[in-house]
């Protein structure tokens, strides 16, 4: 094993939410603007390098 190198093993976090307003479920967390997402990722210490979305969800490839 190398003395030091890039840590490939990921940490994975999944958060589920609920709300009383059924309209929320149409977009919900997808309404969080990109600037706010970047702020969250700043705390994690990574950034968005690529993004795509469909009618169900948004997917971001991150740095690191």
């Amino acid at each position: 094993m190398a003395v030091s190198g890039f840590e490939g093993f990921e940490k994975r976090l999944e958060l589920n939410f609920f709300g009383d307003d059924p309209i929320i479920f149409q977009l919900g967390l997808r309404k969080i603007d990109f600037e706010s997402i970047q702020q969250v990722l700043e705390a994690v210490q990574c950034t968005v390098v690529s993004a795509v979305g469909n009618s169900y969800f948004d997917a971001y490839v991150l740095s690191e």
């Binding site: 190198g5 490939g8 958060l15 709300g19």
Partner: protein
């Protein structure tokens, strides 16, 4: 690393020395502003190759669990932390879950035949790993080089129906997210010899062609060691048998299987495989 944002679910998966758990509070904050309340939290990871390089709170699983316990709201009262073992002390699966109540199921994962599969692979085949290095001066962008790697390695054949967003890092490394209707898949590769690593994760149904998916993943990376962690609403022995039957003909022998139960009826199965050549 990847981020998936659904209307009521967020998944973040990050490698390196990122401080993933520091995302919890800001995410709860933004969700609350949208009228959404956290009802479950799940944190998982394998055993780090370089644990001493991790920053707090990722310095140990105890520290991570303490941080989680202190950070998530008190309404998530059904909590459990577990380190699931394998035959090798250096390969364990770390799981923390917390639920507010088993009645909040407004996301698709509540379906009984839906599972999440997290695969971790190390000691990648040297020749195959080379495909995840950029050619010096290739004149490509991260996106175009990523697309080339996706096709060159056969990653695009794992799920031909998926819309793929891929990226190649410089000088090496690769990430991709796949979208197939409301189901995601994701691959991350660190190809350097000595600490090579690749992960594959997807959500799927027990009725899907899991054999095809697993075989393709093994053929793309030919790992020396591989772990498969599945999370679903019950213990599905048929599915686990299918997994072993898919992987073993490709030279990987199942070495261990650990099963644990978590709040809200979740079952996690952690299986490890090693190449017979070793």
């Amino acid at each position: 690393s990847s981020l998936f944002v659904y209307p009521t679910k967020i998944i973040i998966k990050t490698c390196g020395t990122t401080q993933l758990l520091k995302s919890i509070l800001p995410l709860i904050h933004y969700a609350n502003h949208l009228g959404l309340t956290l009802c479950s939290c799940r944190y998982t990871r394998g055993s780090f190759i370089f644990p001493n390089s991790q920053p707090f709170p990722h310095t140990s699983f105890n520290h991570e669990v303490t941080f989680l316990q202190d950070t998530i709201p008190s309404n998530l009262c059904h909590r459990k932390a577990s380190i699931m073992p394998s035959k090798s002390s250096s390969h364990s699966w770390h799981v923390f879950t917390a639920h507010s109540s088993i009645t909040h199921h407004n996301h698709s994962d509540s379906d009984s035949d839906v599972f999440t599969m997290e695969i971790c692979m190390t000691e990648l085949d040297l020749i195959l790993a080379r495909k995840f290095f950029r050619r010096p001066g290739d004149g490509k962008t991260g996106d175009s080089a990523g697309k080339e790697m996706t096709e060159l390695t056969g990653i695009n054949e794992i799920n031909p129906n998926a819309l793929i967003c891929d990226f190649a890092f410089d000088p090496c490394g690769y990430s991709m997210n796949g979208m197939d209707n409301d189901w995601y898949s994701t691959i991350h590769v660190t190809p350097e010899d000595g600490f090579s690593y690749a992960s594959f994760e997807c959500v799927g149904s027990v009725n899907d062609n899991i054999v095809h998916v697993l075989r393709k993943v093994v053929q793309i990376f030919r790992p020396g060691t591989m772990s498969i962690s599945t999370t679903c609403s019950g213990y599905n022995n048929e599915m686990l048998k299918k997994m072993v039957n898919a992987v073993e003909p490709l030279g990987l022998k199942c070495r261990s299987r650990a099963v644990d139960q978590f709040p809200a009826g979740e079952t996690v199965v952690f299986q490890t495989f090693m190449a017979r050549r070793r």
